[in-house]
C-alpha cells in the first residue's frame, strides 16, 4: 500500500513545464488577446467618428436653418418695405387727385 502511495506521489509530483511549452502558451495567449483590443479600439474609433460626423451634420444644419431664417426675415422686411413705399406713392397720387377734385368742384 505504502509502495503504491509513494509511486503515485512520485508520478504526480509538481513539475516545472518545459521552456518551449511556456513560450508556446504565452504566444497563444497574446495572439488571442490582441484582436480583442484592436476590435475595441476600432469600435471606439468608429463611434467617435460617427459622433463627430453627426455633430458636424447637426451643426451645419443648424447654421443653414439660421441662415434661412435670416434670409426669410430679410425678405419679409423687404416685402413690407416695398408695400409701404407703394402705398406711400399711391397716397401721393390720391392726395393729388383729391386736391384736383376739390379745386374743380365749385364751392369746395
Amino acid at each position: 500500500m505504502k509502495d503504491l502511495e509513494s509511486q503515485l506521489r512520485a508520478a504526480l509530483r509538481p513539475a516545472a513545464p518545459r521552456e518551449a511549452f511556456t513560450k508556446t502558451l504565452l504566444a497563444q495567449i497574446s495572439l488571442t488577446r490582441q484582436p480583442r483590443t484592436t476590435l475595441r479600439r476600432t469600435a471606439w474609433l468608429t463611434a467617435s467618428l460617427a459622433a463627430t460626423l453627426l455633430l458636424a451634420v447637426g451643426a451645419r444644419q443648424h447654421v443653414q436653418d439660421l441662415r434661412n431664417r435670416e434670409s426669410g426675415l430679410e425678405a419679409r422686411r423687404q416685402v413690407i418695405e416695398a408695400l409701404r413705399m407703394t402705398s406711400q406713392k399711391l397716397d401721393l397720387a390720391y392726395e393729388a387727385v383729391k386736391n384736383q377734385s376739390a379745386s374743380e368742384t365749385p364751392g369746395a
Binding site: I80, A82, R84
Partner: protein, 186 residues
C-alpha cells in the same frame, strides 16, 4: 407639302410670338450714378423664390401679415428703386426715360397720371392686363428730391391691394381701379 410648309412657318413664328408677348417685368437700370449722389437709396428685388420665402415668415394670425400674405398670392416679383437727394433737381427726367420707354410698349396702360403743383410731385400709375386680370403694375413717382419706381409683377388682385388700406397707410383711392375702366395708353 403645303401642310409641311405651314408647320414650318408656325415653328419659325413661335419664338417671335413668344418674344412679343407682353412682359410686365420692367428692366430697371442700375442708376449707379444717381445712387452715388443720393443721400438715401432703396433697392428691393424680390423674385418668386424670395416672395415665397417671405410668405413663410408672415404670421397669419397678425392682421397686417395676413393681409400682406393675401396680396403676395399670385405675385411673381416686386422691384423697387428709390433715391432721395438732399437738394432739388438732383436728377433729370431723362434718367427715368429708359423706364418710361418700356411703359409705352404694348400691354401697358396708364391708369392714373397726377401732377401736383402744391407738392411738385408727379405720379404715374401704369397697369398691364391680360384677360381682364392685372398682371403688372408700375408706379413712377417723381418729387423734387426723390424719385421712386415700383414694379409689381404677377396676378395683382387690386381688391386685395385695396384691403391693405390702413395696414400700410394705403389710401382709399377714389379712382376706379378696375382694369377694364383704365384709361387708354398715353
Amino acid at each position: 407639302m403645303t401642310q409641311r410648309i405651314s408647320w414650318l412657318w408656325l415653328i419659325l413664328l413661335l419664338p417671335s410670338l413668344a418674344w412679343t408677348a407682353p412682359n410686365p417685368r420692367l428692366l430697371l437700370p442700375e442708376f449707379s450714378a444717381l445712387a452715388q449722389k443720393a443721400t438715401e437709396s432703396v433697392t428691393i428685388t424680390l423674385d418668386p423664390s424670395l416672395l415665397a420665402m417671405a410668405g413663410r415668415f408672415l404670421d397669419s394670425n397678425d392682421p397686417q401679415d395676413a393681409a400682406t400674405k393675401e396680396v403676395l398670392k399670385g405675385l411673381q416679383g416686386i422691384y423697387v428703386r428709390s433715391y432721395t437727394f438732399d437738394q432739388d433737381a438732383a436728377y433729370r427726367e431723362s434718367d427715368i426715360d429708359a423706364v418710361r420707354n418700356q411703359l409705352s410698349a404694348p400691354g401697358w396702360n396708364r391708369l392714373l397720371e397726377t401732377r401736383s403743383r402744391k407738392s411738385h410731385a408727379d405720379v404715374d400709375i401704369f397697369i398691364m392686363t391680360d384677360k381682364n386680370q392685372a398682371i403688372g403694375l408700375a408706379i413712377i413717382a417723381s418729387e423734387p428730391r426723390q424719385f421712386t419706381i415700383v414694379n409689381i409683377v404677377g396676378a395683382i388682385d387690386l381688391e386685395k391691394l385695396h384691403k391693405l388700406e390702413g395696414q400700410f397707410g394705403v389710401p382709399k383711392l377714389d379712382v376706379d381701379l378696375q382694369p377694364a375702366a383704365s384709361s387708354p395708353k398715353k
